[in-house]
C-alpha cells in the first residue's frame, strides 16, 4: 500500500495516458483527472482536499492575469484572417511558383516562415496556430504528404521558444538569476542550427522521395513575364510587408513583442481590405474561429495547470527529484539523467512546470559539476556552465512540445487543422523532427561553443 501511494503520481500519468485515448476532449480530461487524484490523494493522506481551491487561483494568476499570452489570440486572429481572406493562399502559391525548382520548396518556405515568426513571438501556441492556418491547407492542396506537412509546421513553429524573444528563456533566466540578454544571444545559434537541420532534412527527403512533396507542374502558374511580376506584387509583397511590419515595429522600439501581435492582427484586416476580400461575413467568421481556437488553447492551459498542481502535490515533484538523485553519479551521468528526465516530463507537462521542478533544484548542482574543461572559459560570460545548461534544457524542452502522445504543439496544430488530419498522422510526421532535435541537443552537449561562442563574441568586448 505504501508503495502504491509513493508511486501514485506515476499512476496518475498512466491513467491520463489511457483516458486520453478514449477521445474525450483533452482539456476536460486533464481537469477531471486532477480532481480524481485530488480525492484519491486526500484519501491516501498525501493531499488535503481543501487545497483544490488553489486551482482557480492558479488559473487566474497564471493564465488570465498574463499579458504575454495576449499574443496568442492576436496571432491566431492574424493567421485566420490571412487564411480566410485568401492572402495566405496567394502568398504560399506565389512561393510555390518561385521555388518550383527546389525539392520540397513549400515545406522549406514554411521553415523559413517559422524562423521569422520565431523572432516575433516566444509563445508556441501563437506561431504553431498561425502557421497551421496559413500553410497547412495550401500544402495539402499541393498534395504534400500530411505527416511531412504537419511535422514541418509543428517543428518550425516551436523554434519560437529558442529564438528571442522568448518568455520561456526569460523565466528560466529569472529562476537561475542569470542575465536574460546573455541567454537570448546564447539561444540564437542553437535555434538556427535546428532550423538548418530541418532544412537539410526536408531538402534531402524531398529529393529522394519526390512523391511526398510533388513539384508544381510547369503548366500551372503565370505563363508570361508580366503575369509573373503581377503575381509577385499582388500576392507576394503585401503579406511579406505585413510580416516585416510586425518585426519592424519590434525592432524600431515602437511595440513590445506582445503588442506587435496586435499590430499584425490589425494589419491583416487592412491587408484583406486592400485585397478587396474583406466582407462583414468574413470578418465575423474570423472572429468566431479565432475565439474557438483561443478556447481550444486555453482549455488545455487551464486543464494542464490543474493536472500539474495535483501531480506535484501528491508527491510527483519529490519522486522526480529523488529519481534523478538516486540514478546518477558523476557529472556526465547527472547531465544525461537530467536531460532524459526533462525529455520524459515533456510528454505530459508544459515547460513552465518542468522548469519549476528541474531548474531551481538541479541548476546549482550542475553549476558545480566538473566537466573537466569541456565547457571552458568564455570572455564576457561569468557562469558559462549555467548558461550552457540552461540552453540545453531549453533545446530539450523545445523537443518536448512535440513528443507524442502529449505534445502541446501537436495539440495546437490538431486544433486548427482540417478534419482529415488525424492525430496519428501528426504523430508520425513529428518523429523525424524530434530525432533532428535530439541530434541538435547532442551537438550542443558535445560542442558547447555552439551555445557560448556568440554571446561571448557579442558581450566579451
Amino acid at each position: 500500500m505504501e508503495n502504491v501511494i509513493y508511486y501514485m503520481p506515476l499512476i496518475m500519468f498512466g491513467v491520463l495516458a489511457i483516458v486520453l485515448f478514449t477521445g474525450y476532449p483533452v482539456a476536460f480530461i486533464l481537469g477531471g483527472i486532477a480532481l480524481l487524484f485530488a480525492v484519491l490523494g486526500d484519501w491516501a493522506g498525501v493531499f488535503r482536499l481543501d487545497q483544490i481551491q488553489l486551482v482557480p487561483l492558479r488559473i487566474y494568476g497564471g493564465t488570465m492575469a498574463s499579458l504575454v499570452l495576449v499574443a496568442i489570440p492576436m496571432f491566431t486572429f492574424m493567421g485566420t484572417m490571412l487564411e480566410k481572406s485568401g492572402v495566405a493562399t496567394d502568398l504560399l502559391e506565389a512561393l510555390q511558383v518561385l521555388l518550383r525548382k527546389v525539392p520540397g520548396g513549400l515545406a522549406l518556405s514554411v521553415t523559413l516562415m517559422g524562423t521569422i515568426m520565431a523572432a516575433t513571438t516566444g509563445i508556441i501556441g501563437a506561431s504553431v496556430v498561425m502557421m497551421t492556418l496559413m500553410a497547412l491547407p495550401v500544402m495539402m492542396k499541393a498534395n504534400y504528404s500530411i505527416p511531412l506537412a504537419t511535422g514541418t509546421i509543428a517543428a518550425s513553429g516551436t523554434l519560437g521558444i529558442l529564438i528571442p524573444p522568448s518568455i520561456m528563456l526569460v523565466i528560466m533566466s529569472d529562476l537561475l538569476s542569470v542575465p536574460v540578454g546573455t541567454v537570448f544571444i546564447a539561444a540564437i545559434v542553437p535555434g538556427l542550427l535546428l532550423a538548418l537541420l530541418y532544412t537539410l532534412y526536408i531538402f534531402l527527403l524531398c529529393r529522394w522521395k519526390p512523391h511526398l512533396a510533388p513539384p508544381m507542374p510547369d503548366e500551372i502558374g503565370p505563363a508570361t513575364r508580366g503575369e509573373f511580376w503581377r503575381m509577385i506584387f499582388r500576392s507576394f509583397l503585401p503579406p511579406i510587408f505585413l510580416i516585416l511590419a510586425v518585426l519592424g515595429s519590434i525592432f524600431a522600439g515602437l511595440a513590445t513583442p506582445t503588442e506587435a501581435s496586435g499590430v499584425g492582427a490589425a494589419g491583416s484586416v487592412l491587408l484583406a481590405w486592400f485585397n478587396r476580400r474583406l466582407t462583414w461575413e468574413t470578418f465575423k467568421d474570423v472572429c468566431y474561429r479565432s475565439a474557438l481556437t483561443g478556447a481550444m488553447l486555453f482549455g488545455i492551459f487551464v486543464g494542464a495547470t490543474a493536472f500539474s498542481f495535483v501531480f506535484k502535490s501528491i508527491g510527483g515533484e519529490h519522486l522526480i527529484v529523488e529519481f534523478i538523485q538516486n540514478s546518477s553519479v558523476g557529472p556526465w551521468s547527472i547531465l544525461f539523467v537530467l536531460m532524459a528526465m526533462v525529455f520524459a516530463l515533456g510528454f505530459f507537462f508544459d515547460w513552465i512546470e518542468i522548469t519549476l521542478i528541474v531548474l531551481p533544484i538541479f541548476a546549482p548542482i550542475v553549476a558545480l559539476l566538473d566537466f573537466g574543461g569541456h565547457v571552458g572559459e568564455w570572455a564576457g560570460i561569468s557562469n558559462p556552465i549555467v548558461i550552457w545548461f540552461l540552453i540545453l534544457v531549453a533545446v530539450n524542452l523545445q523537443t518536448s512540445f512535440l513528443t507524442p502522445p502529449f505534445g502541446f504543439a501537436l495539440f495546437y496544430l490538431k486544433g486548427v487543422a482540417p478534419p482529415e488530419v488525424k492525430i496519428q498522422m501528426i504523430y508520425k510526421g513529428i518523429i523525424p523532427f524530434v530525432a533532428l532535435q535530439v541530434l541538435g541537443l547532442f551537438l550542443c552537449v558535445v560542442f558547447p561553443w555552439i551555445v557560448l561562442w556568440l554571446p561571448s563574441w557579442a558581450l566579451g568586448g
Partner: protein, 200 residues
C-alpha cells in the same frame, strides 16, 4: 430533452459569439497604447488632459489581458458545443458510435461537471473576496474593481458546464431515446469531430 440540450447549446453559442467580438477592442487598445506611448506622451498639452489620465499605459495594458481572459473564458463552452476542443481520436476512430456516445456521457458527467464545479465554487469565493475588500490593481496606477475579472472565471465555467450538460443530454437521447431522434442527437457519436467546424 433534445430541445433542452439545444437551448443550452444555443446559450453557449450566443455568449461565445458575442465574446468573439472582443477581438476588436483588444486590437484597438493595443494600437492606441503603442501610438500614445510613442507620439502623444511627449506632448504636455495632451498629458495634462483627463483623457490621458483615464487611459494611461498601465490601465490599457491591464485592459488587454482583461479582455483576453473574458474572450477565452466565454468561448470555452462555445468551443465544446462546436466540438473544437482537441481530442486524441487514435482509438476513438475504431469505436462504435454507441460506445463513443457512452464515452461522451461519462466524460461530461464524471470529468467535466465536477471540474467545473470546483472552478465555479472556488472561483466565486475568490471573486467575492475581491469584492468584499474592494480589491484593485496591484499596480497603483492600474484598473480598479478586480472582482469583475475574477468573477469572469466562474461565469465562463458555468457555460462550460452547460455545454457539458447539453452534450450529456444529447448522448442520453442517442443511447436511450427513440431511433427517430438518432440523427439529431448523434453529434458526439460521429466519426471524426471536425475540430474547425464548417460553420463557426
Amino acid at each position: 430533452m433534445l430541445q433542452a440540450s439545444d437551448h443550452l447549446a444555443h446559450a453557449c453559442t450566443v455568449v461565445g459569439k458575442a465574446a468573439a467580438f472582443l477581438f476588436v477592442p483588444m486590437m484597438l487598445i493595443i494600437l492606441y497604447d503603442v501610438f500614445q506611448r510613442k507620439y502623444l506622451g511627449y506632448n504636455p498639452d495632451f498629458t495634462t488632459t483627463d483623457w490621458y489620465k483615464m487611459f494611461t499605459s498601465t490601465r490599457l495594458q491591464e485592459m488587454e489581458w482583461h479582455l483576453h481572459s473574458v474572450l477565452f473564458l466565454l468561448a470555452l463552452g462555445y468551443g465544446y458545443v462546436k466540438d473544437s476542443h482537441v481530442r486524441i481520436e487514435l482509438v476513438r476512430d475504431t469505436l462504435r458510435p454507441r460506445t463513443r456516445a457512452w464515452v461522451e456521457l461519462f466524460g461530461a458527467l464524471l470529468f467535466l461537471v465536477p471540474y467545473c464545479y470546483v472552478v465555479i465554487e472556488y472561483g466565486t469565493e475568490n471573486a467575492l473576496r475581491a469584492f468584499n475588500i474592494g480589491e484593485g490593481s496591484d499596480a497603483l496606477t492600474g484598473l480598479p474593481h478586480r472582482f469583475i475579472i475574477k468573477g469572469m472565471l466562474p461565469v465562463g465555467f458555468v457555460f462550460v458546464a452547460l455545454a457539458g450538460l447539453s452534450a450529456a443530454l444529447k448522448c442520453l437521447v442517442y443511447l436511450f431515446g427513440p431511433s427517430s431522434l438518432r440523427a439529431a442527437s448523434g453529434q458526439y457519436a460521429g466519426d471524426h469531430p471536425p475540430t474547425q467546424p464548417a460553420d463557426a
